[in-house]
Symmetry: C2
Subunit: 279 residues, 2 copies
Amino acid sequence: MRAVKAPSADRAATARAAIRAGRHTGPTSGLAPGFAQANLVVLPHTHALDFLRFCVRNPQACPLLEVTDTGSPHPAAVASDADLRTDLPRYRVLRDGMCTDEPADISPYWDEHLVGFLLGCSFTFEWALAAAGLPIAHQRQGVNVPMYVTDRECVPAGAFHGPMVVSMRPLPAHHVPRAVEITGRFPAMHGAPVHIGDPADLGIDDLGVPDFGDPVRIAPDEVPVFWACGVTPQVVALNAAPPLAIFHAPGHMFITDRPHAHYDSAVRDHITETPEGHR
Amino acid sequence: MRAVKAPSADRAATARAAIRAGRHTGPTSGLAPGFAQANLVVLPHTHALDFLRFCVRNPQACPLLEVTDTGSPHPAAVASDADLRTDLPRYRVLRDGMCTDEPADISPYWDEHLVGFLLGCSFTFEWALAAAGLPIAHQRQGVNVPMYVTDRECVPAGAFHGPMVVSMRPLPAHHVPRAVEITGRFPAMHGAPVHIGDPADLGIDDLGVPDFGDPVRIAPDEVPVFWACGVTPQVVALNAAPPLAIFHAPGHMFITDRPHAHYDSAVRDHITETPEGHR
């Protein structure tokens, strides 16, 4: 177990301020290095309880980091002074399951009936894989991670139902056991892989044609490794078709005040968790 | 990593059936060995969303295993054919925060507005500690584990607020690191300790006078080790004082179909999780 120096949360706040002011408008990968980023889901409170049930029943695809109070855009437990309406570079707005807008600010859509959910994101375990020296193919190839809709149904909750979406990272076979161990330390960031090897076992016909993201080249000595993916709730919300749903735009995530190590079950500081989160 | 033989879920169902039929009426410790047991909380749906927020914000004290559909007493994802109204040996019923009944069957209280929550229980990590050969003092001394109300406030959510409750197990100092590692593998069962050593750091004046459970003797070479405790939501619900709240009676837990290893981040079978939970 290595020593982890916790970065100052000021850097996360500075990055959010730059986004809020429109000085940073692109994807958040590489921004505020060291801090966990999160998937955003915003739903009317009428759908919040069933969506929470869905997350509890499908923790690998939908690991909950925080749920705001109804009407509040402030996820105070994971980021002080943050505002979910302005602190992500870009959003996707869906009405009745159809994307109607991709704004950089959702203040005009916000009202007292909305609830914001933050879900764990694979950036944290990719950081841990890279820290251990494992190659991350899509980063080396300069493309987005490939994602696939599987034939594996999530456990449904109310109107929320649909298939699990997975991301795929090819790894040299001798690295796979370490990748399982490392990502398994981050249960709040999708955790260990859900599948290793033959994509047909997940109902995936062709790795070269991902449903989201870009294809990656797989070397002869590499094995495809599949993790549950935070895009799952977006696909599921299309099925549920609430009157309004708002997500981060792909790659345009929310930056928390929590260093990656906060979510590492092997090194996190359990003793300070509660005071840190207390408001 | 050792091999784990998964016990047949029939044994859990058999134990629940014995409870339902009134053939088993006492505490559930030692019943259906090998299967995870759970804390029960039942609340009106009007309080369900805030209680879920409370659990997400305080995952060490309130690790969520399952949330039933509103009105449904069937936690299908963790136990097939189970009924939360009859499958625990004894319950505590609170009206407006006051205990009014301790029945063996809550069917008369159940209606279409109630939601059942199952939370992780320390029996699973005690099983793992014992499997590793670590001594569990309260078991050896034949008493209940001592529990203490701390001065550490949980992160609040709506009406739900209050202090974290901890359980304490003294361990020989040389066993403490292993105990941290072992229990840390079970984040859904309270995870690693929240504190090791001086009880005054948690605002506990006298280990000899627990708030719940029984005092245990601590040998000179032993260190008190504290874990977040599933009694926390009961204390918090007293503060929230919903019109109706139902809990398991102390030690009278719900038996799930899931073997302990299902919740072990080091050995669980990630690949089969979703089909198993799918209904």
